[in-house]
Symmetry: C2
Subunit: 261 residues, 2 copies
Amino acid sequence: MATTDDDRRPKYQRIADSLREAIQSGDYGPGDRLPGENDLMTTHGVARMTARQALSVLRDEGVAEARKGAGVFVRAFRPIRRRSIERLARDQWGNGRSIWSADIENRALEVDRITVSEETAPDRISTVLNLTADETTCVRRRRFVLDGKPVLLATSYLPIPLVAGSAITQEDTGPGGTYARLAELGYEPVHFREEIRSRMPSKDEVAQLAMSAGTPVILICRTAYTDTGHPVEVNEMTLDAASYVLEYDFDANPRTTPTNG
Amino acid sequence: MATTDDDRRPKYQRIADSLREAIQSGDYGPGDRLPGENDLMTTHGVARMTARQALSVLRDEGVAEARKGAGVFVRAFRPIRRRSIERLARDQWGNGRSIWSADIENRALEVDRITVSEETAPDRISTVLNLTADETTCVRRRRFVLDGKPVLLATSYLPIPLVAGSAITQEDTGPGGTYARLAELGYEPVHFREEIRSRMPSKDEVAQLAMSAGTPVILICRTAYTDTGHPVEVNEMTLDAASYVLEYDFDANPRTTPTNG
Protein backbone atom coordinates (compact mmCIF):
# COMPACT_ATOMS: atom_id res chain seq x y z
CA MET A 1 0.00 0.00 0.00
CA ALA A 2 1.20 3.49 -0.73
CA THR A 3 1.77 5.48 2.37
CA THR A 4 0.71 9.05 2.03
CA ASP A 5 3.11 11.71 3.09
CA ASP A 6 0.57 13.93 4.80
CA ASP A 7 2.78 16.96 5.08
CA ARG A 8 3.33 17.14 1.36
CA ARG A 9 -0.32 16.98 0.40
CA PRO A 10 -1.84 20.31 -0.57
CA LYS A 11 -4.08 21.85 2.05
CA TYR A 12 -7.29 21.57 0.01
CA GLN A 13 -6.56 17.85 -0.36
CA ARG A 14 -6.14 17.38 3.36
CA ILE A 15 -9.40 19.22 4.02
CA ALA A 16 -11.15 17.06 1.41
CA ASP A 17 -9.68 13.94 3.04
CA SER A 18 -10.93 14.88 6.48
CA LEU A 19 -14.42 15.62 5.13
CA ARG A 20 -14.42 12.33 3.22
CA GLU A 21 -13.47 10.46 6.39
CA ALA A 22 -16.23 12.22 8.30
CA ILE A 23 -18.68 11.09 5.61
CA GLN A 24 -17.37 7.53 5.58
CA SER A 25 -17.55 7.29 9.36
CA GLY A 26 -21.14 8.53 9.31
CA ASP A 27 -20.60 11.96 10.93
CA TYR A 28 -22.31 13.31 7.83
CA GLY A 29 -25.06 11.08 6.49
CA PRO A 30 -26.64 10.96 3.02
CA GLY A 31 -28.36 14.26 2.27
CA ASP A 32 -26.56 16.13 5.08
CA ARG A 33 -25.21 19.58 4.34
CA LEU A 34 -21.41 19.77 4.47
CA PRO A 35 -19.58 22.77 5.98
CA GLY A 36 -19.59 25.64 3.48
CA GLU A 37 -16.68 27.70 2.21
CA ASN A 38 -17.01 30.16 5.09
CA ASP A 39 -17.05 27.37 7.66
CA LEU A 40 -13.96 25.74 6.17
CA MET A 41 -12.12 29.08 5.97
CA THR A 42 -12.73 29.61 9.68
CA THR A 43 -12.09 26.05 10.84
CA HIS A 44 -8.95 25.48 8.80
CA GLY A 45 -7.67 29.05 8.48
CA VAL A 46 -7.51 28.89 4.68
CA ALA A 47 -8.41 31.17 1.78
CA ARG A 48 -11.74 30.89 0.02
CA MET A 49 -10.13 29.34 -3.05
CA THR A 50 -8.66 26.53 -0.92
CA ALA A 51 -12.02 25.84 0.74
CA ARG A 52 -13.68 25.83 -2.67
CA GLN A 53 -11.09 23.41 -4.07
CA ALA A 54 -11.62 21.03 -1.13
CA LEU A 55 -15.36 20.89 -1.78
CA SER A 56 -14.84 20.47 -5.52
CA VAL A 57 -12.65 17.40 -4.89
CA LEU A 58 -15.61 15.72 -3.17
CA ARG A 59 -17.98 16.82 -5.93
CA ASP A 60 -15.65 15.44 -8.61
CA GLU A 61 -15.53 12.11 -6.79
CA GLY A 62 -19.32 11.98 -6.70
CA VAL A 63 -19.27 11.91 -2.89
CA ALA A 64 -21.03 15.27 -2.62
CA GLU A 65 -23.25 17.39 -4.81
CA ALA A 66 -23.86 21.12 -4.97
CA ARG A 67 -27.40 22.45 -4.81
CA LYS A 68 -27.79 25.95 -6.19
CA GLY A 69 -27.86 28.52 -3.42
CA ALA A 70 -28.15 25.89 -0.69
CA GLY A 71 -24.62 24.53 -0.36
CA VAL A 72 -22.85 21.22 -0.83
CA PHE A 73 -24.53 18.04 0.38
CA VAL A 74 -23.52 14.43 0.92
CA ARG A 75 -24.94 12.59 -2.02
CA ALA A 76 -27.65 10.15 -1.04
CA PHE A 77 -26.66 6.69 -2.22
CA ARG A 78 -29.79 4.61 -2.10
CA PRO A 79 -28.99 2.19 -4.83
CA ILE A 80 -31.05 -0.37 -6.62
CA ARG A 81 -29.74 -3.79 -5.68
CA ARG A 82 -29.61 -5.86 -8.85
CA ARG A 83 -29.36 -9.55 -7.95
CA SER A 84 -28.65 -11.16 -11.29
CA ILE A 85 -28.71 -14.77 -10.39
CA GLU A 86 -31.75 -14.76 -8.16
CA ARG A 87 -33.45 -12.34 -10.54
CA LEU A 88 -33.14 -14.65 -13.51
CA ALA A 89 -34.25 -17.80 -11.71
CA ARG A 90 -36.90 -19.49 -13.83
CA ASP A 91 -39.34 -19.58 -10.92
CA GLN A 92 -39.56 -15.86 -11.19
CA TRP A 93 -40.24 -15.13 -14.82
CA GLY A 94 -41.88 -18.53 -15.21
CA ASN A 95 -44.98 -17.38 -13.38
CA GLY A 96 -45.58 -14.08 -15.06
CA ARG A 97 -43.53 -11.60 -13.07
CA SER A 98 -41.17 -9.20 -14.78
CA ILE A 99 -37.49 -10.09 -14.38
CA TRP A 100 -37.01 -6.58 -12.98
CA SER A 101 -39.32 -6.90 -10.02
CA ALA A 102 -36.71 -8.39 -7.68
CA ASP A 103 -34.34 -5.50 -8.29
CA ILE A 104 -36.24 -2.83 -6.67
CA GLU A 105 -38.12 -4.37 -3.82
CA ASN A 106 -40.75 -1.72 -3.04
CA ARG A 107 -39.46 0.93 -5.41
CA ALA A 108 -41.22 1.62 -8.68
CA LEU A 109 -38.99 0.95 -11.70
CA GLU A 110 -40.92 1.83 -14.84
CA VAL A 111 -40.30 1.76 -18.54
CA ASP A 112 -40.92 5.32 -19.75
CA ARG A 113 -39.60 4.89 -23.29
CA ILE A 114 -39.77 1.87 -25.54
CA THR A 115 -39.16 1.31 -29.21
CA VAL A 116 -39.27 -1.98 -31.09
CA SER A 117 -37.85 -2.28 -34.59
CA GLU A 118 -36.35 -4.72 -37.05
CA GLU A 119 -32.70 -3.94 -37.74
CA THR A 120 -29.47 -5.42 -38.97
CA ALA A 121 -27.51 -5.83 -35.74
CA PRO A 122 -24.02 -4.39 -35.25
CA ASP A 123 -21.23 -6.86 -36.01
CA ARG A 124 -20.41 -7.57 -32.37
CA ILE A 125 -24.03 -8.66 -31.81
CA SER A 126 -24.36 -10.67 -35.05
CA THR A 127 -21.21 -12.56 -34.13
CA VAL A 128 -22.48 -13.54 -30.68
CA LEU A 129 -25.90 -14.51 -32.09
CA ASN A 130 -24.32 -16.53 -34.96
CA LEU A 131 -26.38 -14.62 -37.53
CA THR A 132 -25.82 -14.89 -41.27
CA ALA A 133 -25.41 -11.65 -43.23
CA ASP A 134 -29.09 -11.56 -44.28
CA GLU A 135 -30.60 -12.34 -40.87
CA THR A 136 -31.99 -9.32 -39.04
CA THR A 137 -32.86 -8.81 -35.38
CA CYS A 138 -35.78 -7.57 -33.36
CA VAL A 139 -34.33 -4.63 -31.41
CA ARG A 140 -36.10 -3.60 -28.20
CA ARG A 141 -34.85 -0.31 -26.73
CA ARG A 142 -36.12 0.67 -23.31
CA ARG A 143 -35.39 3.32 -20.71
CA PHE A 144 -36.15 2.52 -17.08
CA VAL A 145 -37.01 5.22 -14.57
CA LEU A 146 -37.02 5.00 -10.78
CA ASP A 147 -38.89 7.68 -8.82
CA GLY A 148 -38.77 9.87 -11.93
CA LYS A 149 -35.00 9.49 -12.43
CA PRO A 150 -33.82 7.49 -15.47
CA VAL A 151 -31.41 4.79 -14.22
CA LEU A 152 -31.02 2.23 -17.01
CA LEU A 153 -30.97 2.03 -20.80
CA ALA A 154 -31.42 -1.46 -22.24
CA THR A 155 -31.20 -2.60 -25.86
CA SER A 156 -32.11 -6.22 -26.56
CA TYR A 157 -31.36 -8.00 -29.82
CA LEU A 158 -33.27 -11.17 -30.75
CA PRO A 159 -32.93 -13.05 -34.06
CA ILE A 160 -35.95 -12.40 -36.30
CA PRO A 161 -35.96 -16.05 -37.52
CA LEU A 162 -36.70 -17.05 -33.89
CA VAL A 163 -39.18 -14.38 -32.83
CA ALA A 164 -41.04 -13.20 -35.97
CA GLY A 165 -44.80 -13.00 -35.38
CA SER A 166 -44.53 -13.37 -31.59
CA ALA A 167 -45.40 -10.78 -28.93
CA ILE A 168 -41.65 -10.14 -28.61
CA THR A 169 -41.98 -7.92 -31.67
CA GLN A 170 -44.70 -5.88 -29.90
CA GLU A 171 -44.14 -3.16 -27.32
CA ASP A 172 -46.10 -5.21 -24.76
CA THR A 173 -44.62 -8.69 -24.66
CA GLY A 174 -47.31 -9.96 -22.25
CA PRO A 175 -47.05 -11.73 -18.86
CA GLY A 176 -43.51 -12.88 -17.99
CA GLY A 177 -42.05 -10.78 -20.79
CA THR A 178 -39.58 -11.75 -23.48
CA TYR A 179 -38.20 -14.80 -21.68
CA ALA A 180 -41.62 -16.37 -21.14
CA ARG A 181 -42.37 -15.88 -24.87
CA LEU A 182 -39.02 -17.40 -25.84
CA ALA A 183 -39.88 -20.44 -23.70
CA GLU A 184 -43.22 -20.80 -25.52
CA LEU A 185 -41.37 -20.65 -28.84
CA GLY A 186 -39.14 -23.55 -27.74
CA TYR A 187 -36.12 -21.36 -26.94
CA GLU A 188 -36.20 -21.28 -23.17
CA PRO A 189 -33.21 -19.31 -21.85
CA VAL A 190 -31.44 -21.36 -19.17
CA HIS A 191 -27.83 -20.14 -19.23
CA PHE A 192 -26.72 -16.55 -18.92
CA ARG A 193 -23.46 -14.72 -19.36
CA GLU A 194 -23.05 -11.21 -18.05
CA GLU A 195 -20.01 -9.13 -18.99
CA ILE A 196 -19.44 -5.95 -17.02
CA ARG A 197 -17.39 -2.87 -17.74
CA SER A 198 -17.37 0.70 -16.52
CA ARG A 199 -16.45 3.96 -18.22
CA MET A 200 -17.42 7.61 -18.27
CA PRO A 201 -20.71 8.25 -20.09
CA SER A 202 -21.00 9.76 -23.53
CA LYS A 203 -22.83 13.05 -23.92
CA ASP A 204 -25.88 11.17 -25.15
CA GLU A 205 -25.86 8.86 -22.11
CA VAL A 206 -25.51 11.85 -19.76
CA ALA A 207 -28.61 13.35 -21.35
CA GLN A 208 -30.67 10.15 -21.48
CA LEU A 209 -29.86 9.14 -17.89
CA ALA A 210 -29.86 12.74 -16.53
CA MET A 211 -26.54 11.93 -14.88
CA SER A 212 -24.69 14.03 -12.33
CA ALA A 213 -21.19 15.20 -13.15
CA GLY A 214 -18.38 12.88 -12.12
CA THR A 215 -20.48 9.72 -12.33
CA PRO A 216 -19.53 6.74 -14.51
CA VAL A 217 -21.83 4.26 -16.22
CA ILE A 218 -21.75 0.50 -15.72
CA LEU A 219 -22.16 -1.51 -18.91
CA ILE A 220 -23.65 -5.00 -18.71
CA CYS A 221 -23.83 -7.16 -21.80
CA ARG A 222 -26.02 -10.17 -21.08
CA THR A 223 -26.28 -13.13 -23.44
CA ALA A 224 -29.05 -15.70 -22.91
CA TYR A 225 -28.59 -19.31 -24.10
CA THR A 226 -30.88 -22.31 -24.45
CA ASP A 227 -29.95 -25.65 -22.86
CA THR A 228 -28.17 -26.63 -26.10
CA GLY A 229 -25.99 -23.50 -25.86
CA HIS A 230 -27.89 -21.67 -28.60
CA PRO A 231 -27.70 -17.87 -28.03
CA VAL A 232 -31.18 -16.32 -28.26
CA GLU A 233 -30.76 -12.79 -26.94
CA VAL A 234 -28.09 -10.18 -26.33
CA ASN A 235 -29.09 -7.35 -24.02
CA GLU A 236 -26.75 -4.34 -23.79
CA MET A 237 -27.47 -2.33 -20.67
CA THR A 238 -26.13 1.05 -19.55
CA LEU A 239 -26.63 1.83 -15.85
CA ASP A 240 -26.15 5.05 -13.92
CA ALA A 241 -23.45 3.83 -11.53
CA ALA A 242 -24.72 6.14 -8.80
CA SER A 243 -28.01 4.20 -8.78
CA TYR A 244 -26.87 0.58 -8.68
CA VAL A 245 -25.19 -2.14 -6.71
CA LEU A 246 -24.85 -5.38 -8.66
CA GLU A 247 -24.89 -8.60 -6.69
CA TYR A 248 -23.81 -12.08 -7.76
CA ASP A 249 -24.14 -15.06 -5.43
CA PHE A 250 -22.55 -18.32 -6.49
CA ASP A 251 -20.98 -21.56 -5.32
CA ALA A 252 -17.41 -22.78 -5.48
CA ASN A 253 -18.51 -25.69 -7.71
CA PRO A 254 -20.54 -24.07 -10.44
CA ARG A 255 -22.80 -25.99 -12.76
CA THR A 256 -21.84 -26.31 -16.35
CA THR A 257 -21.71 -22.88 -17.92
CA PRO A 258 -22.56 -22.22 -21.58
CA THR A 259 -19.82 -23.33 -23.92
CA ASN A 260 -21.00 -21.17 -26.74
CA GLY A 261 -20.07 -17.49 -27.04
CA MET B 1 -29.23 16.55 -12.15
CA ALA B 2 -26.91 18.14 -14.64
CA THR B 3 -28.38 18.35 -18.09
CA THR B 4 -26.16 19.27 -20.94
CA ASP B 5 -27.08 22.19 -23.11
CA ASP B 6 -25.53 21.19 -26.42
CA ASP B 7 -25.14 24.67 -27.83
CA ARG B 8 -23.22 25.80 -24.80
CA ARG B 9 -20.58 23.10 -24.99
CA PRO B 10 -17.30 24.32 -26.39
CA LYS B 11 -16.61 23.28 -29.94
CA TYR B 12 -13.60 21.09 -29.09
CA GLN B 13 -15.83 19.20 -26.68
CA ARG B 14 -18.46 18.60 -29.33
CA ILE B 15 -15.83 17.34 -31.78
CA ALA B 16 -14.44 15.04 -29.08
CA ASP B 17 -17.96 13.75 -28.42
CA SER B 18 -18.60 12.93 -32.07
CA LEU B 19 -15.25 11.13 -32.35
CA ARG B 20 -15.95 9.21 -29.15
CA GLU B 21 -19.32 8.13 -30.44
CA ALA B 22 -17.76 7.02 -33.72
CA ILE B 23 -15.31 4.91 -31.68
CA GLN B 24 -18.03 3.44 -29.47
CA SER B 25 -20.18 2.56 -32.47
CA GLY B 26 -17.23 0.79 -34.07
CA ASP B 27 -16.62 3.22 -36.96
CA TYR B 28 -13.07 3.40 -35.64
CA GLY B 29 -11.80 0.15 -34.17
CA PRO B 30 -8.94 -0.51 -31.74
CA GLY B 31 -5.65 0.60 -33.32
CA ASP B 32 -7.34 2.66 -36.04
CA ARG B 33 -5.92 6.07 -36.81
CA LEU B 34 -8.28 8.94 -35.94
CA PRO B 35 -8.64 12.02 -38.16
CA GLY B 36 -5.68 14.35 -37.58
CA GLU B 37 -5.68 18.04 -36.75
CA ASN B 38 -5.77 19.01 -40.43
CA ASP B 39 -8.69 16.67 -41.11
CA LEU B 40 -10.65 18.06 -38.16
CA MET B 41 -9.89 21.67 -39.18
CA THR B 42 -11.33 20.99 -42.64
CA THR B 43 -14.31 18.88 -41.57
CA HIS B 44 -15.44 21.10 -38.71
CA GLY B 45 -14.13 24.47 -39.90
CA VAL B 46 -12.16 25.08 -36.70
CA ALA B 47 -8.75 26.44 -35.77
CA ARG B 48 -5.81 24.13 -35.17
CA MET B 49 -5.93 24.74 -31.42
CA THR B 50 -9.56 23.57 -31.29
CA ALA B 51 -8.76 20.41 -33.25
CA ARG B 52 -5.81 19.74 -30.96
CA GLN B 53 -7.94 20.22 -27.84
CA ALA B 54 -10.57 17.79 -29.17
CA LEU B 55 -7.95 15.08 -29.65
CA SER B 56 -6.43 15.77 -26.25
CA VAL B 57 -9.83 15.20 -24.59
CA LEU B 58 -9.85 11.67 -26.00
CA ARG B 59 -6.25 11.11 -24.97
CA ASP B 60 -7.01 12.27 -21.43
CA GLU B 61 -9.94 9.87 -21.23
CA GLY B 62 -7.71 7.01 -22.29
CA VAL B 63 -9.84 6.42 -25.39
CA ALA B 64 -7.04 7.38 -27.78
CA GLU B 65 -3.27 7.55 -27.70
CA ALA B 66 -0.77 9.63 -29.64
CA ARG B 67 2.10 7.95 -31.45
CA LYS B 68 4.99 10.25 -32.21
CA GLY B 69 4.90 11.46 -35.80
CA ALA B 70 2.15 9.02 -36.76
CA GLY B 71 -1.00 10.59 -35.34
CA VAL B 72 -3.64 9.74 -32.76
CA PHE B 73 -4.97 6.18 -32.60
CA VAL B 74 -7.85 4.42 -30.90
CA ARG B 75 -6.35 2.73 -27.90
CA ALA B 76 -6.55 -1.03 -28.03
CA PHE B 77 -8.69 -2.22 -25.12
CA ARG B 78 -7.09 -5.46 -24.11
CA PRO B 79 -8.64 -6.00 -20.73
CA ILE B 80 -8.11 -8.64 -18.13
CA ARG B 81 -11.12 -10.93 -18.26
CA ARG B 82 -12.08 -11.77 -14.71
CA ARG B 83 -14.31 -14.85 -14.68
CA SER B 84 -15.55 -14.95 -11.12
CA ILE B 85 -17.46 -18.13 -11.10
CA GLU B 86 -15.05 -20.30 -13.04
CA ARG B 87 -12.15 -18.65 -11.24
CA LEU B 88 -13.39 -19.62 -7.79
CA ALA B 89 -14.28 -23.19 -8.66
CA ARG B 90 -12.76 -25.46 -6.04
CA ASP B 91 -10.94 -27.49 -8.67
CA GLN B 92 -8.77 -24.52 -9.29
CA TRP B 93 -7.54 -23.38 -5.91
CA GLY B 94 -7.95 -26.93 -4.56
CA ASN B 95 -4.84 -28.10 -6.39
CA GLY B 96 -2.47 -25.34 -5.53
CA ARG B 97 -3.03 -22.72 -8.21
CA SER B 98 -3.64 -19.11 -7.35
CA ILE B 99 -7.21 -17.99 -7.78
CA TRP B 100 -5.85 -15.25 -10.01
CA SER B 101 -4.31 -17.45 -12.63
CA ALA B 102 -7.46 -17.87 -14.72
CA ASP B 103 -7.92 -14.13 -15.01
CA ILE B 104 -5.01 -13.35 -17.11
CA GLU B 105 -4.43 -16.28 -19.37
CA ASN B 106 -0.87 -15.69 -20.57
CA ARG B 107 -0.39 -12.31 -19.01
CA ALA B 108 1.68 -11.85 -15.88
CA LEU B 109 -0.34 -10.45 -12.95
CA GLU B 110 1.98 -9.98 -9.99
CA VAL B 111 1.69 -8.77 -6.44
CA ASP B 112 4.16 -5.92 -6.10
CA ARG B 113 3.10 -4.68 -2.67
CA ILE B 114 1.78 -6.66 0.27
CA THR B 115 1.24 -5.89 3.92
CA VAL B 116 -0.29 -8.15 6.54
CA SER B 117 -1.43 -6.80 9.89
CA GLU B 118 -3.81 -7.40 12.76
CA GLU B 119 -6.45 -4.68 12.98
CA THR B 120 -9.86 -3.86 14.31
CA ALA B 121 -11.98 -3.98 11.15
CA PRO B 122 -14.21 -1.08 10.07
CA ASP B 123 -17.82 -1.44 11.20
CA ARG B 124 -19.15 -2.49 7.78
CA ILE B 125 -16.70 -5.43 7.79
CA SER B 126 -17.23 -6.43 11.42
CA THR B 127 -20.96 -6.55 10.77
CA VAL B 128 -20.65 -8.85 7.76
CA LEU B 129 -18.17 -11.10 9.61
CA ASN B 130 -20.37 -11.19 12.77
CA LEU B 131 -17.44 -10.10 14.94
CA THR B 132 -17.80 -9.11 18.56
CA ALA B 133 -16.32 -5.77 19.65
CA ASP B 134 -13.08 -7.36 20.91
CA GLU B 135 -12.43 -9.63 17.91
CA THR B 136 -9.80 -8.36 15.50
CA THR B 137 -9.03 -9.30 11.89
CA CYS B 138 -6.05 -10.34 9.85
CA VAL B 139 -5.85 -7.64 7.14
CA ARG B 140 -4.04 -8.54 3.92
CA ARG B 141 -3.46 -5.56 1.60
CA ARG B 142 -2.10 -6.28 -1.85
CA ARG B 143 -1.51 -4.39 -5.07
CA PHE B 144 -1.54 -6.35 -8.35
CA VAL B 145 0.43 -5.24 -11.38
CA LEU B 146 0.05 -6.34 -14.99
CA ASP B 147 2.89 -5.64 -17.41
CA GLY B 148 4.21 -3.04 -14.97
CA LYS B 149 0.84 -1.23 -14.68
CA PRO B 150 -1.01 -1.47 -11.32
CA VAL B 151 -4.55 -2.71 -12.02
CA LEU B 152 -6.02 -3.88 -8.72
CA LEU B 153 -5.92 -3.09 -5.00
CA ALA B 154 -7.27 -5.80 -2.70
CA THR B 155 -7.81 -5.72 1.06
CA SER B 156 -8.90 -8.97 2.70
CA TYR B 157 -10.26 -9.21 6.22
CA LEU B 158 -10.26 -12.58 8.03
CA PRO B 159 -11.30 -13.12 11.67
CA ILE B 160 -8.25 -13.63 13.89
CA PRO B 161 -10.08 -16.30 15.96
CA LEU B 162 -10.22 -18.40 12.74
CA VAL B 163 -6.79 -17.78 11.23
CA ALA B 164 -4.39 -17.03 14.12
CA GLY B 165 -1.15 -19.01 13.79
CA SER B 166 -1.83 -20.08 10.18
CA ALA B 167 0.07 -19.09 7.04
CA ILE B 168 -2.78 -16.68 6.29
CA THR B 169 -1.11 -14.29 8.73
CA GLN B 170 2.15 -14.51 6.73
CA GLU B 171 2.94 -12.63 3.52
CA ASP B 172 3.33 -15.95 1.70
CA THR B 173 0.22 -18.03 2.35
CA GLY B 174 1.64 -21.07 0.53
CA PRO B 175 0.27 -23.19 -2.35
CA GLY B 176 -3.38 -22.48 -3.15
CA GLY B 177 -3.33 -19.32 -1.07
CA THR B 178 -5.73 -18.15 1.60
CA TYR B 179 -8.64 -20.35 0.50
CA ALA B 180 -6.61 -23.56 0.63
CA ARG B 181 -5.44 -22.64 4.15
CA LEU B 182 -9.02 -21.87 5.23
CA ALA B 183 -10.05 -25.33 3.96
CA GLU B 184 -7.28 -26.93 6.05
CA LEU B 185 -8.52 -25.02 9.09
CA GLY B 186 -12.01 -26.48 8.57
CA TYR B 187 -13.49 -23.32 7.05
CA GLU B 188 -13.64 -24.21 3.38
CA PRO B 189 -15.23 -21.36 1.43
CA VAL B 190 -17.99 -22.75 -0.80
CA HIS B 191 -20.40 -19.85 -1.31
CA PHE B 192 -19.46 -16.42 -2.57
CA ARG B 193 -21.24 -13.12 -2.82
CA GLU B 194 -19.80 -10.36 -4.97
CA GLU B 195 -21.22 -6.84 -4.79
CA ILE B 196 -20.15 -4.44 -7.51
CA ARG B 197 -20.20 -0.67 -7.74
CA SER B 198 -18.42 1.92 -9.81
CA ARG B 199 -17.38 5.47 -9.02
CA MET B 200 -14.63 7.94 -9.81
CA PRO B 201 -11.38 7.18 -7.99
CA SER B 202 -10.07 9.15 -5.04
CA LYS B 203 -6.75 10.95 -5.48
CA ASP B 204 -5.07 8.19 -3.51
CA GLU B 205 -6.52 5.52 -5.81
CA VAL B 206 -5.44 7.48 -8.90
CA ALA B 207 -1.90 7.50 -7.51
CA GLN B 208 -1.83 3.85 -6.41
CA LEU B 209 -3.31 2.54 -9.66
CA ALA B 210 -1.51 5.08 -11.91
CA MET B 211 -4.87 5.77 -13.52
CA SER B 212 -5.52 7.80 -16.65
CA ALA B 213 -7.76 10.83 -16.35
CA GLY B 214 -11.46 10.23 -16.88
CA THR B 215 -11.35 6.58 -15.84
CA PRO B 216 -13.57 5.19 -13.08
CA VAL B 217 -12.80 2.39 -10.64
CA ILE B 218 -14.88 -0.74 -10.20
CA LEU B 219 -15.37 -1.80 -6.59
CA ILE B 220 -15.96 -5.47 -5.82
CA CYS B 221 -16.75 -6.55 -2.30
CA ARG B 222 -16.53 -10.33 -2.08
CA THR B 223 -17.71 -12.29 0.94
CA ALA B 224 -16.78 -15.97 1.27
CA TYR B 225 -18.98 -18.36 3.25
CA THR B 226 -18.60 -21.94 4.49
CA ASP B 227 -21.27 -24.56 3.72
CA THR B 228 -23.05 -23.61 6.94
CA GLY B 229 -23.28 -19.99 5.81
CA HIS B 230 -20.52 -18.81 8.13
CA PRO B 231 -18.72 -15.76 6.63
CA VAL B 232 -14.93 -16.28 6.72
CA GLU B 233 -13.51 -13.51 4.55
CA VAL B 234 -14.42 -10.13 3.14
CA ASN B 235 -12.24 -8.91 0.28
CA GLU B 236 -12.65 -5.31 -0.84
CA MET B 237 -11.18 -4.82 -4.31
CA THR B 238 -10.61 -1.65 -6.32
CA LEU B 239 -10.04 -2.19 -10.05
CA ASP B 240 -8.88 0.18 -12.75
CA ALA B 241 -11.99 0.03 -14.95
CA ALA B 242 -9.88 0.54 -18.09
CA SER B 243 -8.12 -2.77 -17.40
CA TYR B 244 -11.00 -5.13 -16.65
CA VAL B 245 -14.01 -6.93 -18.01
CA LEU B 246 -15.86 -8.92 -15.36
CA GLU B 247 -17.68 -12.03 -16.45
CA TYR B 248 -20.36 -14.02 -14.65
CA ASP B 249 -21.84 -17.20 -16.14
CA PHE B 250 -24.82 -18.76 -14.42
CA ASP B 251 -27.94 -20.85 -14.88
CA ALA B 252 -31.61 -19.92 -14.69
CA ASN B 253 -32.06 -22.30 -11.74
CA PRO B 254 -29.27 -21.42 -9.38
CA ARG B 255 -28.19 -23.55 -6.49
CA THR B 256 -28.96 -22.41 -3.03
CA THR B 257 -27.19 -19.17 -2.31
CA PRO B 258 -25.87 -18.23 1.12
CA THR B 259 -28.62 -17.08 3.44
CA ASN B 260 -26.25 -15.28 5.72
CA GLY B 261 -25.02 -11.75 5.04
